[in-house]
């Protein structure tokens, strides 16, 4: 079924490009149809593979000989894959439907919908691949699709710059990932993921190899999931169309990093060093990005930073061995973040700007968007009974277990940082929510309240908010994933609820105190620092981009001024040589003869000297 879905998506992509330019109505139809078929397939796949004892299905066994270990072209679907496939195709279908209205009349619609289909296919390939290199194919195709989609509006400078940055940063990580695959594949003696997991479980991978392999793979994961130090591409990817942000930068591509760690958790778990590094990275990223989200004044940037922060949550859970918690948060985050982005798209579509200071007071004129986005924010902040509350609680539960009973010191780290970030999340969610929907309408010259978009856009919002509301049921009984839930930590729930309430209350209090102005103003001197994102871009610019450019310039100069000069010197040298010979050919036959005689005598003398073994 997975294969059928993949083929449908690819066919839709090709068809959209080939015939899409003839008629405006065809490409949306093709995109929705392709994603629809893929979604149906994924539902079947999900139904077949969910459940504690469902056996995985393996499709295909083509071998690519490489002269060393062969690459196996095979797909393997188990509970985790099935859940991810369902998440990816569901969000993709909703995004395709949503885009029909959002991008109506866009001349680039055919290529847009084709790339979205290709992207979905790549994501499905990633989550269902049973070979590291097959996974890598999907992984990188996703990267390039993301690059193309971010630069959808390529006439705008931020879109071009963001696309380049996103592609380069993820690709930098991917090289590490590739090397990590070499190490792990070499250590396990196979590139099949199932084989590697078996080898790790059987102890055939040494701790040393696991450490090197995991640290290298971590580079790719960090790049794809926008973790520190490759975190800064995700907020800059926001000039892309908003449905794309929902699909790629919330629900699927960035989640691929988390998925990979979850998939190879037995390998990562062999290495305490890798897990601790990942945990520290996750905590740093979590805290930093939540702070950045607090000060960002672009709605999509707030959401992007919150994505980064939530992904760190998942990594933190995984580093503590909380496979179920991490994966559940991945799924729930996929639902509510897609919802938030699509709702933000509806707001942006109506208002015409992404800046928070151009919004405000929208709850009256856009009631459906208001309600659904409120659901999304509530889920993000971890308000019961929405899905985010359960999955976040799950993660904090794992952390407290590790902190109080586990052997690793990182349990405390995750628990403390996680609680602080829960408060921060509530604060920035409340801030963005207030600034979008409450207070006076800012930066508006027309005086006409922005209208609610059509049902093509609202439909996906409603569907996703239903998922975000009812998803908690799934989280509480996660046996479909084949994992057991550990039960409630009542004290912890109370503490985290208190923290969330505190964060939200602070934001509301500041909002009221400042007279319905941006609560971030009360951050004081910290605000510009956070709004500049701690000058990380400038740091990268000075340490990587400029030296790189300088080296490139130096190389070019070397080519022109040194290498080319050597070549030219060869030219000139041979020219002088030829002049010398021409000068000798002056027509005086006697001079030629003189040279011949001198030469003959010289040779004779040499023969005499050498032939007799020297003058002595």
């Amino acid at each position: 079924m997975t294969v059928v879905g993949l083929v449908a998506l690819l066919l839709a992509a090709v068809a959209a490009v080939v015939v899409g330019h003839r008629d405006d109505r065809v490409p949306p139809l093709l995109g929705v149809a392709g994603s629809g078929v893929a979604w149906l397939c994924s539902v079947v796949v999900g139904a077949l593979h969910w459940g504690a004892n469902a056996a995985p299905t393996v499709t295909g066994s083509g071998r690519i000989e490489t002269g060393g270990l062969p690459i196996t072209v095979a797909l393997r679907v188990d509970q985790l894959s099935a859940s991810m496939v369902v998440l990816a195709t569901t969000v993709a279908l909703l995004v395709q439907v949503y885009s029909v209205a959002y991008l109506r009349g866009d001349p680039r619609y055919p290529s847009y919908t084709a790339i979205v289909s290709l992207f979905t296919a790549a994501m499905v390939l990633v989550v269902s691949a049973d070979d590291l290199f097959v996974l890598l194919v999907g992984w990188e195709v996703m990267g390039v699709c993301s690059y193309i989609l971010i630069s959808h509006h390529w006439e705008l400078e931020p879109a071009r710059a963001g696309a380049v940055k996103a592609f380069l940063m993820t690709r930098l990580g991917d090289i590490g990932l590739l090397f990590g695959f070499f190490v792990i594949g070499g250590a396990a003696g196979t590139y099949r993921i199932s084989g590697i997991v078996e080898a790790a479980a059987a102890g055939r991978i040494s701790g040393h190899q696991a450490t090197i392999g995991s640290l290298l793979m971590r580079c790719g994961v960090v790049g794809k999931s926008a973790q520190f130090p490759l975190h800064s591409w995700l907020p800059d990817a926001m000039p892309g169309p908003t449905p794309i942000s929902a699909l790629i930068h919330a629900a699927t591509m960035v989640a691929a990093g988390v998925f990979l760690v979850a998939r190879l958790l037995p390998v990562f778990a062999l290495s305490d060093v890798a897990m601790t590094t990942l945990a520290v990275i996750a905590c740093v990223t979590m805290l930093g990005s939540a702070l950045f989200a607090l000060a960002a004044d672009d709605l999509k940037r707030v959401l992007a930073w919150s994505t980064v922060s939530q992904l760190s949550y998942m990594f933190a859970a995984l580093t503590l061995g909380g496979y179920g918690a991490g994966v559940l948060h991945l799924l729930s985050h996929g639902a509510f973040k897609a919802l938030l982005f699509l709702a933000a798209g509806s707001v942006i579509h109506a208002v015409g700007t992404q800046r928070l200071d151009g919004m405000g007071g929208l709850r009256a004129s856009m009631p459906v968007t208001f309600v659904t986005m409120t659901v999304g924010y509530a889920a993000l902040a971890g308000v019961p009974p929405f899905v985010g509350f359960f999955s976040k609680d799950e993660i904090l539960g794992v952390a407290s277990d590790q902190a109080f009973h586990g052997a690793h010191g990182r349990g405390w780290l995750v628990l403390v940082v996680g609680l602080v970030v829960a408060g921060l999340t509530a604060a920035y969610s409340t801030r963005a929510w207030l600034m979008t929907f409450f207070g006076p309408r800012r930066g508006d010259r027309t005086g006409v309240p922005p209208p609610e978009p059509g049902w093509l856009m609202l439909g996906p919002l409603v569907a996703l908010s239903a998922a975000s509301t009812l998803g908690g049921v799934v989280v509480v009984w996660p046996s479909f994933l084949g994992v057991e839930r550990e039960g409630w930590h009542l004290g912890l729930v109370l503490v985290s609820l208190a923290v969330v309430a505190l964060g939200a209350a602070l934001a509301v209090a500041e909002w009221t105190r400042l007279g319905h102005m941006d609560p971030a103003a009360s951050l004081g001197r910290l605000r510009p620092v956070l709004a500049r994102e701690a000058s990380y871009d400038a740091l990268v610019d000075w340490t990587v981009v400029r030296p790189g450019r300088w080296l490139a310039g130096l190389t070019r100069l070397n080519e022109i001024e040194v290498v080319d000069r050597y070549a030219a010197a060869g030219d000139i040298g041979s020219q002088w040589g030829s002049r010398l010979v021409r000068w000798a050919h002056n027509g005086n036959a006697q001079r030629y003869l003189t040279a011949v005689v001198i030469g003959a005598v010289g040779v004779a003398v040499l023969v005499g000297v050498i032939g007799t073994g020297g003058p002595s």
Binding site: D571, Q575, S578, N588, Q590
Partner: protein, 118 residues
């Protein structure tokens, strides 16, 4: 007779011949220098032939060959000299430079556009 005497004579003859060929400007004198060198070689051939007691007398035979070729050569050479005199009104070798590697303008160096450096 020791071998040394004819060898010394032939060396001296050859040296004189080389000197004439290299130093004199008159074409006829240069040809005479060539004759001197040839005959020095002939003397060598005959002397070695006698010294080796060669049963085939190869040295003497070769000397005869050289004499015949020298005759032909001098005939050709004098004919060329005559033609040169008719066209140039002189037979001064130093002034016969038509074979020099130069282009029409007379400068010895020039670029044709397919040379290595353009």
């Amino acid at each position: 007779m020791p071998l040394l005497f004819p060898l010394v004579v032939s060396s001296v003859l050859f040296g004189i011949g080389v000197y004439i060929v290299l130093a004199r400007r008159h074409a006829v004198l240069v040809l005479m220098g060539v004759e001197l060198m040839l005959n020095a070689v002939n003397l060598n051939l005959v002397a070695f032939d006698a010294w080796w007691h060669d049963t085939l007398d190869a040295g003497q035979v070769l000397a005869l060959f050289v004499i015949a070729i020298a005759a032909a050569e001098i005939g050709l050479g004098l004919a060329i000299v005559l033609l040169v005199f008719r066209t140039h009104q002189h037979v001064d070798i130093d002034r016969l430079r038509e074979l020099a590697d130069r282009d029409e303008t007379g400068a010895v160096e020039a670029d044709d556009d397919r040379s290595v450096v353009s």
